[in-house]
């Protein structure tokens, strides 16, 4: 049986910032794909990274850990990684993990509930 794909697209902005749009399910089998993609993005030295998670239909703490890890890695070079758009499942897990306040101030837009 093959696993579903996690769709990740990287869109460079005019100001040196990069938007990373993620669609699909961020769970244990897919988390590695996101780790690799975010490391590649950060290695290019963007001014900032905006995460568009409006297409994420499932996320668990493994996925949250990936996001936290990317923020920590980026912080070592002064690069900001923020959630620009989110979805109902992402919002819910951030709440359950107590991280909604951590990300809450920076979340600019939430798409309509997916689940």
């Amino acid at each position: 049986m093959s696993r579903d794909r996690l769709d990740i697209s990287v869109v460079p902005g005019d100001d040196g910032a990069v938007t990373v749009a993620v669609a699909g399910e961020i769970d244990l089998p897919h988390a590695r794909d996101l780790v690799v993609a975010l490391r590649e993005v950060l290695a290019a030295g963007p001014a900032a990274v905006a995460l568009d998670l409006s297409g994420v239909t499932f996320i668990d703490s493994t996925g949250i850990q990936v996001l936290m890890g990317a923020r920590a890695d980026a912080a070592t070079t002064g690069t900001e990684v923020r959630i620009a758009k989110t979805s109902a499942p992402v919002q819910r897990v951030l709440h359950l993990t107590g991280l909604l306040e951590t990300f809450g101030r920076e979340i600019g837009e939430r798409s309509p509930p997916v689940l």
């Binding site: 049986m1 696993r3 769970d27 493994t62 499942p89 359950l96 689940l115």
Partner: protein, 128 residues
Amino acid sequence: MRLELGVRLLQDVDELTTFRHLLDGALATLGVTEDCRADVGLIVSEICAHVVSYLAKGDHAQVGVAVADGMCVVEVRADGDVDPQRPNVLAESGRGLRIVSQLADNVAVFADHSHGLLLRAGKKLVTA
């Protein structure tokens, strides 16, 4: 009616998404609400992810999900003996277990490692 599904770890780790989808589809057929199915999916995903982080190379565990009498029970059993010196699967703090404890109606930890039973989490099913 009783429904049982199982997944082997670490062998089936790439199939965890499919496993969760199968369970979600079965619960939908039984009329379980979307919110409740989302809770069950998170519980299963968190428990599996945590068990994977706990297993050492060469270790094996079975994660079984049973649906009966309005309950969904997720149970983890190690295949064979469990090293009694190894920390209990729920002893470590973490975001995943925090989610499980918030969403499940009951979580039980079994201290008798010689039987290989590590944990069981139950969730009452809500039907439309």
